[in-house]
């Protein structure tokens, strides 16, 4: 890149409105809309035996009540299985409104529409639904035991048995000098964006068209789903993601029942209808992630080099599988991380439980895979009395091994071939940044203060920017303004800024002239969505290609006007100039005017493009064959496969043996996402990811009781970290540009969250000398673990105790 803005910490353009209260989030739209509220199941598993709406009829302001009986055609069918897979042999999805059976607390049964939300909720609470309760399955272990079935016709509760292998693992294990086997567990958490989901729909009865605003990560596909489900022609439906108050994955799922039902009501009633999810609804009716039971067997040699790895995972997918087996696949394929695994076999059994659905939450299966692999590294090091960093180092893929083919199939159906990276480099930087070699000294210092100190690390490789494609449109107006559009959505990643930086750099225009629109199907109808750390990679490159197309056309027109060769032209500050010939220039805005031959002069600028404005070439038509009016270009970026970012985290914890409070005193991050568009934004993504990683390691869990009731469905009980819980973060960067895309970038959105659980588990284990095999871990659980005589001690602890290094 030759220009100044790419790679600069440009201050965000979206902030101007957001810091003065002028953002426009879903619930800020449609003050006159009718409000929807839902009657949701209070039971985790039940048959619905009756719905009595009589009591609601007395509520002044009630407008409509919908149940499954009101759904016809495609709406009466189950919601789509968004990502089918041959190994997803027993997919199940719910209905927009329950059809006779509910499979988790929070499943929608009745939609009430009223003049405002208060009244809608008044009416909803007067609707009496009667149930016949059924046996409840909660948790992977119960699902695996299958004493009962979540879905009657699936007696083993197994939705999918995903498996991949790179060789014959059994003989490889048998031939390994050493093996060890263990099982470990990781609990659920959830995206929990500060803004829940929400939908606003407005039907234009005259035009027979529908405009829907949704707090979504995938407006184009929401649009397609609404059109398909409601039987509307695609061009009669527009979907817009307004300012979205965070997503982290939950808003990539679609169509949520409400995304179909709110438009249905708007059409049926001929009035605007809106639904804004409340916090409890978000806990019980959106999506969670992360719960897995992992059984791992690893073969390795005396130096700690892995010879074979055999992993069997039970993955809790909740009540339904609308998002297919993406999370299991990601766990299975990203588990191998930055390491050479000579023979690998993985089976992920995705099982049904009577709980909220499980779909990607930032990291999307990677934190679990990282937890499996990195804890394996820790165990090998412990067994061999080796430094944990050394064991990792010996197993790393080396810089000269790229592209590195793991012979696995990724979540996009493409091979897992690492494009570039420098994993030894990451590890070296991490050791320096965290002070790995000084750990023993720190431990002794802490011990002198009566504290237990431990250090841990974890490395990861993250497939980012999966296809199939994204597109970009760049248009220069006669005013000089540059309009940029891409179809994927924004939830706080600063796309308006980073995409503007790309265009300003590629086109040579002031960033002030660039206006970026995302997630609006009116502006760009083709897109996939914002997930898997793909926005910068996918839309960034598509927009860059579109800008290059505009540049090429601008230079072609300018070359005509300036009677120069396009090769001699440059664009800077929005002006095309003959290199080295001052005064021989033409503004881009003028080229934009000239690019569109006109008959009518609607303003001063337009005069220049009218038919009598200047000498024309009578031998050619005003618009040449193959050309098009306007200074604009639309282009797409479709990658051959994902690009692979990487990183390494380390944590130092101090534990107070009186309270067993776990304090992260240092958290170090080394991060490689290739070329960086805006380092300020990337660093912000890392900060936020780490906070969620810490949250998942120490605080957040979904406390289901055995009846399938979520006991902590509020911010009072679900311990989302405040500032006091998030450690300071030291960050170092490395850059191995991706050879796969024009800008050389890799995704950065999810990275920060991935190694948190693994690194912190490692550090706690190092501090207390007890094997940590279940995460997250609370002070109470840690206390119970330490005082339990049956707890497994680490070899390192035994050795340390033996030498008196630790009291």
């Amino acid at each position: 890149m030759t220009t100044k803005l790419f790679g600069e910490p440009v201050r965000r353009r979206e902030d101007a409105r957001l810091i003065v209260g002028k953002g426009r989030y879903l619930d800020d739209i449609g003050h006159n809309a009718l409000a929807a509220a839902f009657v949701r199941s209070p039971h985790a598993h039940a048959r619905i035996t009756g719905i009595d709406v009589d009591g609601a009829l007395d509520v002044e302001g009630l407008v409509a009540i919908y149940t499954y009986e009101d759904l016809t055609g495609p709406m009466a069918e189950p919601l789509p299985v968004l990502i089918p897979h041959p190994q997803l042999t027993a997919p199940r999805t719910g209905y927009p409104l329950a059809n006779g059976e509910v499979n988790h607390v929070g499943e929608p049964i009745v939609m009430v529409v009223a003049t405002d939300r208060y009244i809608a909720e008044d009416a909803a609470e007067r609707i009496l639904v009667s149930y016949e309760e059924l046996p409840v399955i909660v948790g992977v272990d119960a699902a695996r035991a299958a004493a009962h079935a979540v879905h009657e016709e699936i007696p083993d509760n197994v939705a999918a048995r995903h498996h991949q292998q790179t060789g014959d693992v059994d003989p490889a294990l048998a031939a390994s000098p050493r093996t060890l086997s263990f099982t470990q567990y990781i609990e659920r958490s959830a995206c929990t964006p500060m803004e829940g989901k929400g939908v606003h729909a407005k039907w234009d009865a005259d035009d027979r068209s529908l405009r829907v605003y949704s707090s979504t990560q995938a407006s184009t596909s929401v649009r397609a789903a609404i059109a398909a489900k409601l039987g509307l022609s695609l061009e009669k439906v527009e979907v817009i993601a307004p300012d979205v108050g965070g997503g982290f994955g939950v808003k990539i799922v679609h169509p949520w029942p409400e995304e179909l039902l709110v438009p249905l009501a708007a059409i049926a009633l001929g009035q605007e209808v809106k639904w804004s999810e409340d916090r409890r609804e978000h806990f019980t009716s959106s999506a969670h992630e992360r719960q897995q039971r992992q059984e791992i067997t690893v073969g390795y040699d005396d130096d700690g080099r892995i010879t074979a790895l055999d992993v069997h995972i039970w993955h809790d997918n909740g009540a339904y599988t609308p998002y297919g087996i993406i999370v299991p696949i990601v766990t299975a394929t990203q588990l191998v991380g930055p390491y050479v695994i000579p023979v690998y076999r993985v089976v992920v059994e995705s099982v049904y439980t009577n709980t909220v659905i499980v779909t990607p939450y930032r990291g999307a299966g990677r934190p679990q895979g990282c937890y499996a692999m990195e804890r394996t590294m820790d165990r090998i090091a412990d067994a061999l009395d080796l430094d944990r960093a050394v064991v990792r180092e010996r197993n790393l893929i080396q810089a000269d091994q790229f592209p590195y083919d793991h012979h696995l199939t990724f979540q996009d159906g493409r091979p897992v071939i690492y494009d570039s990276g420098d994993y030894p480099g990451l590890l070296a930087k991490l050791r320096a940044l965290v002070g790995w070699s000084e750990a023993d000294a720190l431990r002794n210092d802490a011990a002198a203060r009566g504290k237990l100190l431990g250090i841990g690390m974890a490395m990861y490789v993250e497939g980012t920017g999966p296809g199939p494609y994204e597109g970009g449109h760049v248009q220069v107006l006669g005013s000089g303004k540059v309009l940029v559009a891409t179809g994927l959505t924004s939830q706080g990643q600063g796309h308006e800024t980073s995409f503007a930086q790309i265009v300003a750099s590629e086109l040579g225009v002031p960033i002030e002239d660039v206006e970026v629109t995302t997630g609006d199907t009116r502006r760009f109808p083709y897109a996939v969505g914002t997930f898997a750390s793909r926005a910068a990679v996918m839309s960034g490159n598509a927009i860059a290609l579109a800008a290059r197309g505009v540049r090429e056309k601008a230079l072609r027109i300018a070359a005509d006007v300036l009677e120069a060769s396009p090769d001699d032209l440059e664009i800077d500050e929005g002006v095309v100039q003959v290199r080295g010939v001052p005064g021989s220039s033409i503004p881009l805005r003028t080229i934009a005017v000239l690019s569109n031959p006109l008959r009518y002069a609607f303003d001063e600028a337009a005069k220049q493009a009218t038919q009598f404005a200047g000498p024309g070439d009578d031998s050619k038509p005003p618009v040449s064959p193959g050309d098009a009016p306007g200074l604009e270009h639309r282009d797409y970026y479709s990658p051959i496969r994902s690009t692979f970012a990487s990183g390494a985290h380390a944590a130092i914890v101090e534990i107070d043996p009186a309270t067993w409070e776990i304090d992260i005193v240092k958290y170090a991050v080394v991060h490689d996402c290739g070329n960086v568009v805006n380092p300020m934004i990337v660093e912000g993504q890392v900060h936020g990811g780490v906070a969620q990683g810490v949250a998942g390691a120490l605080y957040e869990r979904m406390a289901y009781d055995r009846d399938g009731q979520l006991q902590n469905a509020s911010f009072m009980d679900f311990l989302m970290p405040y500032a006091s819980e998030v450690p300071d973060i030291d960050i170092d960067h490395q850059s191995t540009p991706s050879p796969l895309n024009p800008l050389g970038i890799k995704g950065a959105g999810e990275a920060g969250v991935i190694p948190g659980t693994a690194a912190i588990a490692s550090a706690i284990e190092d501090a207390v000398g007890r094997r940590i095999a279940a995460m997250p871990i609370s002070p109470t659980e840690l206390y119970d673990l330490v005082r339990n005589d049956d707890s497994e001690l680490t070899e390192a602890y035994t050795r340390r105790s033996g030498t008196g290094a630790m009291a």
């Binding site: 957001l18 003065v20 208060y118 911010f715 009072m716």
Partner: protein, 171 residues
Amino acid sequence: MTTVDTERTVTVTVNGVPRETTVPVRRLLSDALRHDLGLTGTHVGCEHGVCGSCTVLVDGDPVRSCLMLAVQVEGRSVTTVEGLARDDHRGGQVLHPVQEAFRECHALQCGFCTPGFLMTIAAGLDKRDPAAELTEEEVDDMVGGNLCRCTGYANITKAVHSAAAAMRDAR
């Protein structure tokens, strides 16, 4: 049979402007600000007073507007994020130092929690002696009660320091 809410007319000064609105007595202040007065800068993140997104100032003190009824602000003065910047008397606005600092320090991502942080921090900064050294305890007080899911707080804390420094320099 029918539930007809008792309504009450509330007279309140919002962002320096006297406003009058008739609301059901059960209407939350947050909803009244957002839906009756059209001030949607105040956001509702949890509806149970934990996240702080809905924080506004009532007579200068930060309150959770989702835990307060609109009728409770009768005769009082409410400041929302829309009223945080000051009129520059030339047709524009002068941002509060904490607003400037949030942008400068990248202290927001999705922006949903931001108004609550801005109001809480602005109240804290405006009440202190700008010449005094800003302590970590003060910063913790100003940021420690609000939830943010995007930023990890590091840059919010940085913004508080930055704003305090700007207020010290501007003194």
